[in-house]
C-alpha cells in the first residue's frame, strides 16, 4: 500500500515546493542546535581559571569555535546564541510557508548562477569587512598571504565572476544531458561531494593540528601498545636495596616540592615519598576537585578527538551517499521503479491547497 520506510522521502522528490520546505526546516534545526548548544554551554561555562580549568576540560564544544571567530566576551556569545535561535525560528516559519505542492519546473543552471553570484558577494564582503575592521577581532592579521581574509576576498571575486559567467551563458546540450541538469537529484549528488570533501579536509587538519596552532603531540593515533609496546610478561614487584641491604626510600630519600601549592613542603616518610615518585612518573601532579562534577576517573576523549572521529566517519558516509545519488541520477531509467502517480495516494495535509477548506480531500 504505502511506501517502505526507506523510501518515504521520495514524496518530496518531484514536488519542488515541498523539497525546498524540508531543506529549510533542516536549516532551522541546524541553526537551532547551534543556538541551543551555545546557550547551554554559556550557562555552565566557568571562565574563572583558564589555566587549570580551560574550556576544553569542561567539555565546551561551540565556545572554542566562537572564540576562534572573535567572540571573546560574554555579551558577544549570548548575542550569537540568540541570533541563531531567532534565525532558526524564521527558517521554521519559512519552511511552513513553502510547504505547498505543485509541479513547477526550475531553471537549475540559472539558479546555480544566481546563488554563485550572491555567495561570491557574501564571501568577498566577509573578507573585506575583516580587512577594514568593520567586523573585526583582535590579533587577526588580514595581510597574511594564506590567511582567512585574503582567501575570502580572492574566492569571493572568483565567485562573482563565475556567477556572472553562468548567468550569461546557457549550458551546452551535451553537458545538460550528460550530467542530467534537468533532474534535481544531480544537484543533490554534487552537493554531497562538497560536504564530504569539506569533512575530510577538516577532520585531517584538526587531527594534524594545522587549523589553529594545536600541538601535534595531543593527537597521536594508535593504541597504548603504540606508546609503550606490547606487554608480554610481568617482571614482578621491584624492591630497591642499597649495599647494606636496606630498602631505598626508607631513610635517605625525601621529596620536596618547588612552585605550586606544595612549594617548599617536603616529606620523608617512605610511603608518601614512594607515592609521589609514582605519580611523578606519570606526569605533573595536580590537585583535583572530584566532588563538584562527581568525577569518576573514567578516561574520556577530548573534544578534538571526538571532532576528528565524528567528521571522518560522516565524511565516509557522505562519500557513499555521493556515489549512491550520482548513480541514481545517471542511471535513473534503471533505478526508477516508483509509480509517479503514487504521490497522489500519500499526499499529506487535510487540504490540497494550503488553508483552503474547499479543496478538502475526499477519500474515495
Amino acid at each position: 500500500m504505502g511506501l517502505p520506510w526507506y523510501r518515504v522521502h521520495t514524496v518530496v522528490l518531484n514536488d519542488l515546493g515541498r523539497l525546498l520546505s524540508v531543506h529549510i526546516m533542516h536549516t532551522a534545526l541546524v541553526a537551532g542546535w547551534a543556538g541551543s548548544m551555545a546557550l547551554y554551554e554559556l550557562a555552565v561555562f566557568d571562565p574563572s581559571d583558564p589555566v587549570l580549568n580551560p574550556m576544553w576540560r569542561q567539555g565546551m564544544f561551540v565556545i572554542p569555535f566562537m572564540t576562534c571567530l572573535g567572540i571573546t566576551n560574554s555579551w558577544g556569545s549570548w548575542s550569537v546564541a540568540g541570533a541563531h535561535i531567532v534565525f532558526s525560528g524564521l527558517c521554521f516559519l519559512a519552511a511552513i510557508w513553502h510547504w505547498r505542492t505543485g509541479k513547477p519546473s526550475l531553471d537549475l543552471p540559472k539558479i546555480f548562477g544566481i546563488h554563485l553570484f550572491l555567495l561570491g558577494v557574501a564571501c568577498f564582503g566577509f573578507g573585506a569587512f575583516h580587512v577594514t575592521g568593520l567586523y573585526d577581532m583582535e590579533g587577526f592579521d588580514p595581510f597574511v598571504p594564506g590567511g582567512i581574509a585574503s582567501h575570502h576576498i580572492a574566492a569571493g571575486t572568483l565567485g562573482i565572476l563565475a556567477g556572472l559567467f553562468h548567468l550569461s551563458v546557457r549550458p551546452p546540450q551535451r553537458l545538460y544531458k550528460g550530467l542530467r541538469m534537468g533532474n534535481i537529484e544531480t544537484v543533490l549528488s554534487s552537493s554531497i561531494v562538497a560536504v564530504f570533501f569539506a569533512a575530510f579536509v577538516v577532520a585531517g587538519t584538526i587531527y594534524a593540528g594545522l587549523a589553529k596552532n594545536q600541538s601535534l603531540s595531543e593527537a597521536r593515533a594508535g593504541s597504548m601498545d603504540n606508546k609503550d609496546g606490547i606487554a608480554v610478561g610481568w617482571l614482578g614487584h621491584p624492591i630497591f636495596r642499597d649495599k647494606d641491604g636496606r630498602e631505598l626510600f626508607i631513610l635517605s630519600v625525601t621529596v620536596e616540592f618547588y612552585g605550586g601549592e606544595f612549594n617548599g613542603v617536603s616529606y620523608s616518610d617512605p610511603a608518601t615519598v614512594k607515592k609521589y615518585a609514582r605519580h611523578a612518573q606519570l606526569g605533573e601532579n595536580f590537585e583535583l576537585d572530584r566532588a563538584t562534577l562527581k568525577s569518576d576517573g573514567v578516561f574520556r576523549s577530548s573534544p578534538r578527538g571526538w571532532f576528528t572521529f565524528g567528521h571522518a566517519s560522516f565524511a565516509l558516509l557522505f562519500f557513499f551517499g555521493h556515489i549512491w545519488h550520482g548513480a541514481r541520477t545517471l542511471f535513473r531509467d534503471v533505478f526508477f521503479d516508483i509509480d509517479p502517480d503514487l504521490d497522489a495516494q500519500v499526499e499529506f495535509g487535510a487540504f490540497q491547497k494550503l488553508r483552503d477548506p474547499t479543496t478538502r480531500r475526499q477519500v474515495v
Binding site: 551535451r174 553537458l175 495516494q345 475526499q362 474515495v364
Partner: protein, 73 residues
C-alpha cells in the same frame, strides 16, 4: 486508499502577483541549452588552470615550492 481532490474555484491559470511576475523572469528559461558542446572547452581550460593554481598554493604552503621572500615558519 485513493484520494480525490476537489477544486474550490475554476480558474484560468496559476495566481499572478507582483513579486511572482518579477521572479518569473528568472525562471523562464527551463531546459534552454546551447547547442552541441557549447563552452565546454572554455570551462575545461578554466578547471585545468584552477587545478594548477591550487597545486601551486598548496606546494607553497607545504614548502615543496620555495619562493624568494616567502618563508613558511
Amino acid at each position: 486508499m485513493a484520494t480525490q481532490t476537489v477544486e474550490g474555484s475554476s480558474r484560468s491559470g496559476p495566481r499572478r502577483t507582483v513579486v511572482g511576475d518579477f521572479l518569473k523572469q528568472l525562471n523562464s528559461e527551463h531546459g534552454k541549452v546551447a547547442p552541441g558542446w557549447g563552452t565546454t572547452h572554455l570551462i575545461g581550460v578554466a578547471i585545468a588552470l584552477f587545478a594548477i593554481f591550487l597545486s601551486i598554493i598548496l606546494e607553497i604552503y607545504n614548502s615543496s615550492v620555495l619562493l624568494d621572500g616567502i618563508s613558511m615558519n
